[in-house]
């Protein structure tokens, strides 16, 4: 038998996907499908938009309205889709490079406007598709094709970047902590306003090999040991020393962009 989730929400003829064995991107794509199923959204009312990258191939497999655009510009296209058709649930899938390097401006301005888009960042801390160049989320000292002696840049925390730019929902979880990840994606879909979930992924092929991180399972174990839930960190700060914090960083209500836009139209009709 086939998995009913796959039959309902994926283009069966396009599977299996091209991602490498153990690539975390498949775990995130599956969590998104389960979150959409849980939210009870009509498939025809969902539009999934991506840019370019391994992560950005996801919409090719997903059986919704889908738009595979240019590198870094998914949020710009998604903004257009949402303004033209505000009743669509528009979900953006973007890699860390796509969203925080070439597309960094689109991210901060979509967040600033608080437009009702749901962005899922597939953060594997590297440019996977083009062969392992370091990205704005590569840790200082880590290696990439373009940083053979170790990266001297300081990394972005994409969740805090989105929050700082005005996102009204921003959360972080990993592909190891998949229940939590799915829960945040559900909340982000339900949220009215700009929401972003940073899904910390693994790229065993480039990031893993270049940084001698071992197998996909070794990398998942690293996620398990390196991330601490925000609620635990608050209660027991000693457990959070030297760890990354996952959880809901922001969850608040502010005026939403397409509604403000409609209000202008209504006002001018009078």
């Amino acid at each position: 038998m086939n998995n009913p989730l796959v039959e309902n929400y994926f283009r069966m003829d396009k599977l299996p996907h091209i991602w490498c064995p153990g690539c975390g991107h498949g775990i995130i794509m599956s969590a998104i499908a389960r979150a959409i199923e849980k939210s009870g959204l009509d498939k025809d009312k969902v539009c999934i938009v991506s840019g370019i990258g391994c992560s950005s191939r996801a919409p090719g497999y997903m059986d919704f309205n889908t738009l595979h655009t240019t590198h870094g510009r998914a949020l710009a296209f998604a903004t257009g889709v949402k303004l033209a058709n505000p009743e669509l649930e528009v979900i953006v899938i973007a890699g860390d490079g796509d969203l925080s390097a070439i597309g960094g401006n689109h991210l901060i301005h979509a967040a600033r406007r608080n437009i009702n888009l749901t962005t899922i960042c597939f953060n594997n801390n590297i440019y996977g598709m083009t062969g392992g160049q370091y990205s704005p989320t590569t840790a200082t000292g880590d290696k990439g094709t373009t940083a053979p002696y170790g990266n001297i840049d300081r990394p972005f925390d994409i969740t805090q970047l989105a929050a700082g730019a005005g996102a009204t929902y921003a959360a972080k979880a990993t592909v190891y902590h998949v229940n939590q990840l799915q829960k945040y994606i559900e909340a982000a879909i339900d949220h009215k306003g700009f929401s972003m979930v940073e899904a910390v992924s693994v790229c065993p092929t480039y990031y893993g090999r270049k940084n001698k991180k071992g197998s996909a399972v070794d990398m998942m174990n690293w996620l398990k040991d390196s991330f601490v839930d925000m609620k635990i960190a608050e209660k027991m700060p000693e457990k959070a020393v030297g760890k990354f914090i996952m959880g809901e960083y922001v969850n608040k209500v502010e005026p939403e962009y397409t509604e403000l836009y409609d209000q202008v139209i209504e006002r001018l009709k009078r």
Binding site: N3, P4, V6, W19, G22, G26, I27, V178, M220
Partner: protein, 71 residues
């Protein structure tokens, strides 16, 4: 839509399994293993608690909980 666990079982779509070992590593009951082709295989169905964690962490939709009747 509540489906009883009694009606569910783990299914494997071997041709989609890429042998990454993630489901095997994190199965709480350690009932999964590799077969001779390096693909996942159910070693001890009686002790599977049908938690669905293998399905949730499989990057390739190659393992999932589904209805029993279709085996």
């Amino acid at each position: 839509m509540a489906v009883s666990k009694d009606d569910l079982m783990v299914h494997i779509k071997e041709e989609w399994c890429k042998g990454c070992g993630i489901c095997i590593a994190y199965c709480p009951k350690k009932v999964l293993g590799f077969n001779e082709h390096g693909k996942v295989s159910m070693l001890d169905r009686d002790n599977c608690i049908k938690c669905g964690m293998c399905e949730m962490r499989c990057p390739d939709f190659a393992i999932f909980l589904g209805g029993k009747e279709n085996v």
